[in-house]
């Protein structure tokens, strides 16, 4: 590290980056502040740096609604089951297509690669789910997303690059593929599994679109869709959210937003390095 003087440029640089952090954080911070304010205080203030009149009323209102509690539980369930299912099958498929000495690896990999470039689109997928009888079934927002081709490619690249010596030694010792995959490969691939698992978890947690298409019974709605319906009643009608006539007072909406964001923000500082790891894996092939 060289010891340059702290010049006027450095001062400008730090100010610019501090401003950048402020603009990144303020939208989130303001929504937290609004969620802890009374509706009256919300309408009387333009900037939300701290709650003018502290109140837990918005949260009390949200928790009084049995639907939001149910939606939260459904989101947790779908995220946990979906991520486990996706990770399990992505790992198995990635392991299979990373084997060079098998007859069908290229064929299987090509099948998945095609899905990366082309999909049938909304309507044929909807027709399929309807004909499978999966409408208004939570499986409809888990099963179709089992293997994401992009994460499969990451997985395959990782497995192709790891050294095969331990696996070969295990084979000589009489271990079968099942043992090798779950007792040797999986435990030593923890970083990539964590990375891909987290991306899957974010996907399932944030997913609102497919639930909107496949589910019509409100008591099955996950949190993201519940929130969308709450937010979009104001958005699609073109009502100013500050408008007193809007259906859901801004403070209640803010509290629902905070509850939806909370799980992501809570784990984010601890897992963000895995996300960064993921994008590096995806981009550095050379």
């Amino acid at each position: 590290m060289n010891y340059r003087k702290f010049t006027v440029y450095d001062v400008l640089l730090y100010i610019a980056l501090a401003a950048f952090c402020f603009f990144t954080l303020y939208p989130f911070w303001s929504i937290v502040v609004i969620s802890f304010s009374t509706p009256q205080a919300y309408y009387n203030t333009q900037y939300h740096f701290y709650p003018q009149q502290f109140s837990l009323e918005a949260y009390r209102n949200n928790f009084a609604d049995p639907q939001i509690v149910r939606s939260f539980i459904i989101s947790v369930l779908v995220t946990v089951v979906g991520t486990a299912n996706s990770l399990f099958w992505t790992m198995i498929t990635g392991y299979f297509v990373s084997k060079r000495n098998l007859a069908f690896t290229t064929l299987v990999f090509t099948l998945f690669l095609i899905t990366f470039f082309f999909d049938g689109g909304l309507i044929p997928n909807f027709v399929l789910i309807r004909q499978l009888g999966l409408r208004n079934n939570l499986l409809s927002i888990i099963l179709p997303f089992t293997i994401n081709p992009f994460f499969l490619i990451l997985m395959k690249n990782y497995f192709s690059n790891r050294s095969k010596e331990i696996e070969e030694a295990a084979t000589i010792d009489g271990a079968n593929e099942f043992t090798i995959l779950f007792r040797i490969v999986a435990p030593t691939s923890r970083p990539i599994l964590a990375t891909i698992g987290l991306f899957y978890a974010v996907f399932y947690w944030n997913n609102w679109f497919w639930p909107m298409i496949y589910l019509s019974e409100p008591n099955l709605f996950p949190m993201a869709l519940y929130l969308r319906n709450m937010v979009s009643t104001t958005a699609t009608l073109g009502i100013d959210p500050g408008d007193l006539t809007s259906q859901n007072p801004a403070t209640i909406r803010a509290a629902a937003i905070v509850l939806t964001i909370l799980p992501i923000i809570a784990v984010y500082p601890f897992v963000q390095r895995y996300f960064v790891h993921g994008i590096m894996l995806g981009s550095s092939k050379e």
Partner: protein, 320 residues
């Protein structure tokens, strides 16, 4: 003569030999093939059946008759779409919004990466970086909820600020001339940090001796950026730019669908929002499948072309 005979026998033998080889391969790796059976079944059911389903764009599809019984109508739906003003508008909007996004948004992560790289306090650097990725993981449902408050005309923080310094209030979400810019800027806000990771990683590979030598020669920090850092970043920039262009038809749905409203359809409606909105109002399944097919086919061509260009540039090393 001898050559002809031997080649004829090998031709006859080959299929059987290959079959034997495959059978031996399956027998030896029974367990692996057993494990791959569910994923293959999955990809066929959940991906290839819907792909086959796009044939409904050439039919008048009805659930009662199914894919095999519905009447064929040729290109009727495509003609209808291409003559339909709202669809054409959505098509133009998709390209306009995404080109604007690339034009304005492309340099931003590079600038941020250069700025972050200049910071010498490790702790400050890490904090800025960590914060900058955060919005990328928040869905547009939530962000739309936040922006609806922030950008509101009468109560929002941004307009209150504009008014307080004597500028006119702006209807970010309801003025059709402003709305595309709202989309562009809010998307930059969401992705600039995430986009800077790749550039920062490339910068990290530059040997510090280059900078030290430049400093000995009396180069200023700006000169070091212009002559050392930026040239190193150029290959990465080109790849990212090509990927962005390849994705022009594919991105933006979540954002637009959560932020737009009837007042801004003329400039904000994109192909996917057109499809989804029509689907929830009055679905003509075949026509919407045709719209989807148009979009995904053009999108695929763009993406494959982008990959091809990158492969050419990197001497055979494509992205996929």
């Amino acid at each position: 003569m001898a050559i002809t005979v031997s080649s004829r026998t090998s031709l006859r033998k080959q299929p059987r030999m290959i079959a034997n080889k495959i059978i031996r391969d399956i027998r030896m790796n029974k367990l692996l093939y057993l494990l791959i059976l569910p994923p293959v079944l999955y990809v066929i059911v959940f991906h290839f059946i819907p792909m086959y389903g796009v044939i409904m764009s050439f039919q008048d599809f009805s659930f009662r008759k199914g894919y095999f019984g519905s009447d064929w109508v040729g290109l009727k739906h495509f003609v209808w779409l291409l003559e339909n003003p709202s669809f054409r508008q959505a098509f133009v909007n998709t390209i306009t919004i995404n080109l604007l996004r690339i034009l304005v948004g492309f340099p931003m992560p590079i600038i941020l990466a250069l700025l972050i790289n200049e910071v010498r306090h490790h702790y400050f650097k890490r904090t800025v970086q960590t914060l900058s990725y955060l919005p990328y993981f928040i869905s547009w449902v939530i962000l739309a909820g936040i922006f609806n408050d922030l950008l509101a005309r009468d109560y929002g923080a941004v307009n209150s600020f504009l008014a307080s310094i004597g500028l006119p209030r702006i209807d970010f979400l309801q003025d059709p001339h402003v709305f595309p810019w709202t989309l562009v800027i809010s998307e930059i806000w969401r992705t600039v940090g995430w986009g800077s990771i790749i550039y920062l990683a490339t910068i990290a590979t530059i040997s510090s001796t280059l900078y030290e030598a430049a400093e000995v020669d009396g180069a200023t920090r700006l000169q070091q950026i212009l002559h050392i850092t930026l040239p190193t970043l150029r290959p990465t920039m080109v790849v990212i730019l090509i990927i962005n262009i390849g994705n022009i038809l594919r991105v933006g749905f979540d954002q637009v669908y959560n932020l737009y409203n009837p007042l801004v359809y003329e400039t904000g409606d994109i192909i996917q929002t057109y499809i989804v909105r029509s689907f929830s109002i009055n679905p003509n399944f075949s026509r919407l499948a045709a719209a989807g097919l148009l979009e995904s086919t053009l999108g695929m061509i763009l993406l494959l072309t982008a990959n091809h260009v990158i492969r050419k540039m990197r001497n055979g090393e494509g992205l996929y």
